[in-house]
């Protein structure tokens, strides 16, 4: 431990927390919270101070990684507990390296610990998805088209649903590039996790999502031009 209570990842009193959020998102430049200043000074400090800060931060990251892997126990049931913990340690190690590399980019828009946790949760989530799919063949160009549930739909509505899906299916074949079609099929139709696909194709989540985004825009345009009221059918607010 660094011996400073300000490093404890506990939430400030609600009123102070609200003031912090208001301050960091108002028109003025965000002021770096004290908690973050302490962390960053320690991580850039002389060896003994830095080493203690690194150990404490790694412990927090490990806790976050174990939390994430715990949520995914069902997907990772084939792993022994020791392998699962090795995965958590790897995620914490990688998160710590990423944090140190990006320390200068911390903007103070959140608490330092919240900023740090996202690296550990990302690393653990990506590792879990990839481990869960390890050794599984993925059929990139195999399309598995879903169907709308018929329950509660009138005969006319079911007919319209079917027409819309047929139009969408045709647009996938005629309007997308081969790469867009592959990515759309893998991610949107077959439900392959984007981090698994990015590993298999040697690319990044962001690059794949950009391809998916462009493909979706094309498909939307085709359906809208054909008179289908797409925006009335997709989720536009509320919970995801």
């Amino acid at each position: 431990m660094l011996g400073s209570p300000t490093l404890s990842p506990c939430r400030p009193a609600p009123s102070a927390y609200a003031r912090f959020v208001s301050r960091t998102n108002g028109p003025a430049a965000p002021a770096m919270p004290d908690e973050a200043s302490v962390w960053i000074a320690a991580l850039r400090g002389p060896a003994p101070v830095r080493d203690r800060a690194l150990a404490e931060l790694h412990a927090l990251l490990l806790r976050a990684a174990r939390f994430e892997l715990g949520r995914r126990r069902g997907q990772l049931a084939h792993l022994a507990p020791s392998d699962l913990d090795d995965l958590a340690v790897q995620a914490a190690d990688d998160a710590l390296m990423a944090i140190l590399a990006k320390l200068d980019s911390f903007r103070g828009a959140s608490r330092f610990t919240t900023w740090a946790y996202k690296f550990a949760l990302l690393e653990a989530g990506v590792k879990a998805r990839r481990r869960a799919w390890h050794g599984r063949e993925i059929m990139i160009d195999d399309e598995t088209w879903p169907e709308f549930a018929a329950a509660g739909r009138s005969a006319q509505e079911r007919l319209e649903d079917g027409e819309m899906l047929r139009a969408l299916r045709e647009a996938v074949q005629t309007s997308l590039t081969p790469h867009q079609r592959e990515v759309f099929s893998a991610l949107a139709l077959n439900g392959i996790p984007i981090d698994v696909l990015s590993e298999r194709l040697g690319t990044t989540r962001g690059a794949l999502y950009k391809t998916l985004h462009d493909a979706r825009r094309k498909l939307r345009a085709v359906l809208e031009a054909a008179g289908y009221p797409i925006d009335a059918h997709t989720v536009v607010g509320g919970d995801t």
Binding site: P9, N25, T114, K118, G206, T240
Partner: protein, 77 residues
């Protein structure tokens, strides 16, 4: 969940969100700020436009968001 909601979810999975969205990189960059705004009861969607839409369109970023929100809640409890 109603049949209509499932239907909308399926179309969103296929066609993505209707409105402009941030990229995966921007989502990760802003995620900690967005979560703290949400937990403070602030209007996170107004402060960070395009985030909610991206979380609807990208399952992986959606999971990352839920994980960070839940872990911060747990840590703060």
């Amino acid at each position: 969940m109603t049949a209509e909601h499932r239907r909308r979810e399926l179309l969103t999975r296929l066609l993505g969100p209707a409105d402009p969205e941030v990229t995966c990189e921007e989502c990760f960059e802003l995620l900690d700020e967005y979560v703290e705004l949400e937990l403070a009861g602030a209007d996170a969607d107004r402060r960070i436009p395009g985030m909610r839409e991206h979380l609807q369109g990208c399952p992986a970023c959606h999971e990352d968001h839920e994980s960070l929100r839940d872990f911060v809640l747990l840590s703060d409890a």
